[in-house]
Symmetry: C2
Subunit: 109 residues, 2 copies
DNA sequence: TGACTATATGATTATATACTCACATAATAA
DNA sequence: TTATTATGTGAGTATATAATCATATAGTCA
């Protein structure tokens, strides 16, 4: 049976995972891996309304994935933990496995 | 600007992330890291209705995170890619960073 | 001061997700 | 065959999330 302690941990982990589990937010994280950026540049890169991007950014800040700093009129966002990028290695691994399995299936037809 | 190719990749990645982004599903993945299990045992472990667990399992199968095999009356689920466990290392990293920052904040008060 | 710019947020709507209950399906054993 | 057990799925409801528009806030510069 699941302990209360583990349950709490899983809830925290789910919160972080949810904060990344959106195409736009993944695009943002990918954009930020090369360095910090302001909301305006992020919005232009991902091709969405600034208000929408601002909301997505605050979701990730609340989850602890991003952090920000104000600089004049602009707000600059950056990755808070480099290990977030490991997440993509993991997910890419799943995708590669899927592709491999599809290839096997195709070859068997 | 975001290329169509990258956009497609991010959508796929988000799908996989979403498949894990739930406390119950994280509990399931954690349970399965030590070996394959049937729905009934998974449901008992996580403390939820079998019908509900069955739905969560199928979400993860569709995303390519889990795979299953039938054995008599039972359906046995297992992790499809061991690298899924790396995900937890990543998320735990974020949580550790959060805890560290909280400690700093506390010490500064 | 007022105009301008970047960002955040309230309100609304549309959509997606999770859960429950009831029922369907399928394998097994008597 | 019937009864039993494990699993999956349709339907309904409740809740969460995403996107948009309008508006608020706050820093900058003329």
């Amino acid at each position: 049976m699941l302990t209360k302690k583990k349950q709490l941990l899983f809830e925290k982990q789910a919160e972080i995972a949810k904060a990344i589990a959106h195409p736009l937010r993944i695009a943002i994280v990918d954009f930020l891996k090369d360095g910090q950026q302001c909301v305006c540049d992020i919005a232009e890169y991902v091709g969405s309304e600034r208000s929408n991007v601002s909301r997505h950014l605050s979701v990730m800040v609340n989850a602890g994935v991003l952090e920000y700093r104000k600089e004049g009129l602009k707000v600059i966002y950056r990755l808070r933990t480099p290990c977030i990028l490991d997440f993509f290695a993991c997910v890419t691994g799943v995708l590669k496995q899927q592709a491999k399995d599809n290839q096997k299936l195709l070859a068997a037809l």
